[in-house]
Symmetry: C2
Subunit: 148 residues, 2 copies
């Protein structure tokens, strides 16, 4: 179920992805929020910082800093979380994940749901289009990021 404030963060996750794309990086962005309050936003920094663990979700969680608890928080991501990011969501006990795109990458939604995470796939058209374009333009960089 989407709330009113979800839509702005879905757009913000996409805006972070677009920012990274414009920087020559992987177009994957993420937002962490408590209801309508944004805690942090981030994007993939493999290219920008040479950092292989800085997927969009991880960069966002790093920026959010130390949290005593992630209870009641939602993680928004422009692309379905990989196994690293999914493991992190479970470890951090993030209860709710909103995903813009499960088409260009996906498969860990079941892993998350089986561990009690609410997963919402919103099929955000601009996110789907940008990721598909990027994979076509830079297949080697994409494969490096998902270790294929």
């Amino acid at each position: 179920m989407l709330n009113d404030f979800d839509h702005q963060f879905i757009e913000r996750a996409f805006a972070e992805a677009k920012k990274s794309y414009d920087e020559g990086g992987l177009p994957i962005g993420s937002v962490l929020a408590r209801g309508h309050e944004m805690i942090a936003a981030g994007h993939n920094k493999r290219v920008q910082a040479g950092d292989p663990i800085a997927h969009g979700e991880m960069d966002c969680l790093r920026k959010a800093g130390r949290q005593k608890s992630y209870r009641g928080l939602t993680l928004y991501t422009s692309l379905s979380p990989c196994m690293m990011c999914s493991g992190t969501i479970v470890q951090f006990k993030i209860p709710r994940v909103v995903i813009n795109d499960t088409k260009n990458f996906g498969g860990n939604e079941t892993f998350l749901r089986e561990r009690g995470v609410e997963v919402i796939d919103v099929a955000h058209p601009a996110s789907l289009e940008l990721m598909a374009r990027f994979i076509k333009e830079k297949p080697e960089l994409w494969n490096e990021d998902i270790m294929e």
Copy 2:
């Protein structure tokens, strides 16, 4: 099966843990190596950098930078990997993990083995002792790091 060069990296992972402990941080260290060649070493930086994703293994993998493949590499860690770090090991296709301590924290060894990772538990006495001492000294910091 342990090789001769494993022992030096088991000690180095512990030395990283000890370094972090001496800095007032969580005493968990890690090394990434290709045979006898060390690629990177790191330790938990939750306290030192206020970074919740910087577990020992993650800090080490970040320092190792972009790798085209982790084939043939071994990740050494002074403490059994949490779900974030285990997800990362699977995502990065790291084939071999050597763990100094599965007693003070553990449980994801099965998750790793089921996904084809070779997991070796060496029960390193100094690592076991240091971690047990830390948990007794700073239970709140420990619980924050594993989100309990």
